[in-house]
Amino acid sequence: MSVEAIAPKKRNLSFNGDDVRRMCTAIAGGLVLAIMTGPDGAISDPTYGVKTSLLTGHVVGYLVIGVVIGCLLTYRAKVRDGSWRRVRTTPKRTLIERATSFSAIGRGVLLAVTAVAVAIITLIFADFSGPVAANKMSIHEIVHQFLYTRTYGYLILALALWFVVVNQAMRSIPRPLFLLGAVITILLFALTSDPFLPARFSWRALNPGVDNSLFHHWTTYLWLIIGLAVAVSWMIKGDATRAPRPPRRSHALVVTPSMRFLTYVLAGFVVFEAPKFMSLYWQISLYQQIGVFCLLAIGLNIVVGFAGLLDLGYVAFYALGAYVTAYFSGALPLHPPFQLNPFFIIPFAIVFAMLSGVLLGLPTLRLRGDYLAIVTLGFGEIVYVLANDWTQVTAGSAGTGAITNFSVHLFGINYAWDPVNPLSYYYLLLGILIPAIFLFDLLNHSKVGRTWAAIREDEVAAQSLGINALKYKVMAFAMGASTAGVAGVFTAVKVGHLFPNTFILQLSISILVLVIFGGMGSIVGVLFGAIVLQWLPSYLNFHSYFGFQEADLYLYIGALLIVMMIFRPQGLVPSRRRRREILDSEEGLGSADSLGPITAEQPS
């Protein structure tokens, strides 16, 4: 991204405090990323991790990211507020557009040169930023990097980015070449990002004769199918996008479909590939602390963020899902009519949690504000007390028996999830989490999401349009509950034994904090909240900074939340709608949720 390439002739080049703040935030973010991805500390020297990641070359890569993001943000803001409006005398002609006027050979040379340049920059970046490499920039080290599959992932990402830019500008890539490129890209992606392949790269994986080859993993074929579907759909859409587009009003960065796709690829790469380089401790945290809580947070986000209902007993549904799993595993004193593989328990957990959500919601969702919070709080306590004291059914505080593990026995495939390997659970969880994220996002931008927004803002007005507010609130409750039920299954199976004191009120509040911290109503926000807030205790615990003790956790989180509420009440990454609502309600216009007292019109 060259800011200079589209430099205007006249513009106000002054920077204000906002720009400085933006830049500092981006750089600080880069530093935090550097620490997060840096080496782990040692018990004897707790600050080792921070020192190493900030003093070695490792930090350079992340600083570069921070500066680049800061520049992009500043550029975007400046263009948006009009102080950097571009002044042009001739129509826009970018470097790549000019290249289309070259001959075929010239174009080929240009393509090759830019591709190689991108590859080299990527390799240097990989050298600086990678947790595995020795962080010394030398030719030898760069060559050494080829031993690691991660390097190839970086390469593919950079080349894909380059390809998207070139393809958008040139639109001249023949279809067979396009498909071939897609197949090669996907195979390379599978080779570098497949969870079942080792971290150290080996060409052996490409040899079909070898036992552990790429072609023996079903995931490879999954990638192929997904990738080809995307490529073909691009080809079909290609003709449509060639038509002249309507002029855009805004000069700001426009998110094109291919940019969005690339963001998904980038995020997917990190999510699929990064865990393989983590130590066992972090892999366990990733599943049990972060992954499961991401699922819980996006579930609670439907209730709190989308529908605007305060639910303080959310953990009850999580507990129900977990205990349903224990029941159908035969781990409870009360024996089930038939035992099930956890995969088949998931639908039962969904239905059971959903039903209890509906049963709790129907009578209580007529209540408003504080009353609803108190009733849900009570429900959470009831479930906890039942789990703790109804020993004939739940085995009480002694804990349940062993819960059946995930396993697949289908069409000759026999695979049992290994309790020692948290990654296998993690990838399974992703299989639920990623579709859930996309489905809930669709939901939020559909009729249902708009209706929730309407109820949240003005229930009386919504009802006057024929919207059954109770129905939509119960719907939100049931969907949130069923998501928690699924999370319960995943926790129960991984932990193996359930204890009632897992499901205390504190946990409900913790999940609520994730949602509020991240930004109510924004799926990206709550995921961010869940990742940051769940990562933090694991990190502090691991490095034992400042004599950190697990029991102090809520002290820190409480302090963080207070600071947050003062400076950024809408959350870290708020949804546009919610941010607007909070601003409105501060000005006394409408309410930010459907909790406040209803202001029915007084008789006139």
């Binding site: 489905l439 669709l442 309407a454 009386v460 349009l465 059954n468």
Partner: protein, 267 residues
């Protein structure tokens, strides 16, 4: 006007809040296709009447019957507001109640969508029916915005609209529900004279072009006298007069009620 095709029949409705009687034995009939205006001094019970007609308040006595089409009768009393709206009664509010954080277009779209059948599963999976309904609601919302002349504000957030536009948006949103009768609660409050003219034109277009009956509460007598075909005057929760604008203007009871209560009649 056929007098035996009513759209609203209100018979002997009495509404009390504790010891206060807000509506006392009110009987009103509105004909199909009619612009009927309800006027009266502040506190006369006009908005209470609206709230009874839309199911927000449940009167203690009396019956309210809504006829969505000739020969069909629906009792409003005891019906929740959203089902009244479904039957074909749309309304606007005295103090404008927009969905402020949503755009103008989204506000109207919610009104249109309230009648559609898409559920959460359809919305998540983008089933054919959802796509179809989405397309329909987009088209309809654009039509309505054009009808109320708000096309230039399509992507503006509702809370940044000027007051007159807000009123028109509220009307567009109500029209989105495809109503048979539209209840307008002081639509001209807070608008300037030119906006008032545009509003009067819009209301008569709704009545003639869309064939929707209109029940109008308004303090602006010029607007009422120019629009209404019939006027009902409320005072202290009871009907004190009923008739054409000319009759009302010369009715001694009305003059007394108005001159005694406020000086709005002089305007």
């Amino acid at each position: 006007m056929t007098s035996n095709d009513p759209i609203f029949e209100v018979k002997n409705v009495t509404l009390r809040f504790g010891g206060v009687t807000s509506l006392n034995d009110v009987s009103i009939q509105q004909e199909r296709g009619e612009i009927l205006s309800v006027i009266g001094p502040n506190g006369a019970g006009k908005t209470s009447l609206f709230n009874c007609l839309t199911g927000v308040y449940v009167p203690q006595e009396g019956s309210i019957t809504f006829h969505p089409s000739a020969g069909k009768a629906i009792s409003i009393v005891g019906r929740p507001p959203h089902r009244v709206a479904h039957a074909g009664v749309a309304r606007t509010f005295q103090t404008s109640r927009m969905f402020n954080a949503l755009t103008t277009f989204e506000n109207v779209k919610i009104g249109v969508e309230a009648r559609q059948k898409t559920g959460p599963i359809g919305a998540m999976l983008k089933l054919p029916r959802t796509r179809h309904e989405e397309k329909h609601s987009d088209e309809r919302s654009h039509e309505l915005l054009e009808f109320v002349n708000l096309t230039h504000r399509t992507n503006t957030l509702a809370d940044s609209l000027p007051y007159g536009d807000r009123r028109r948006l509220e009307i567009a949103r109500a029209l989105g529900t495809d109503p048979k009768v539209l209840l307008l609660d002081e639509p001209a409050a807070g608008t300037n004279p030119s906006e008032k003219l545009a509003l009067a034109e819009l209301i008569s277009r709704i009545n003639t072009e869309l064939d929707i009956s209109i029940l109008l509460i308004e303090h602006d007598m010029k607007l009422v006298m120019s629009l209404a075909q019939r006027i009902i005057v409320l005072n202290f929760g009871g009907v004190i007069a009923e008739g054409t604008p000319q009759e009302i203007q010369s009715n001694p009871l009305v003059i007394e009620a108005y001159l005694g209560a406020s000086d709005e009649a002089k305007q």
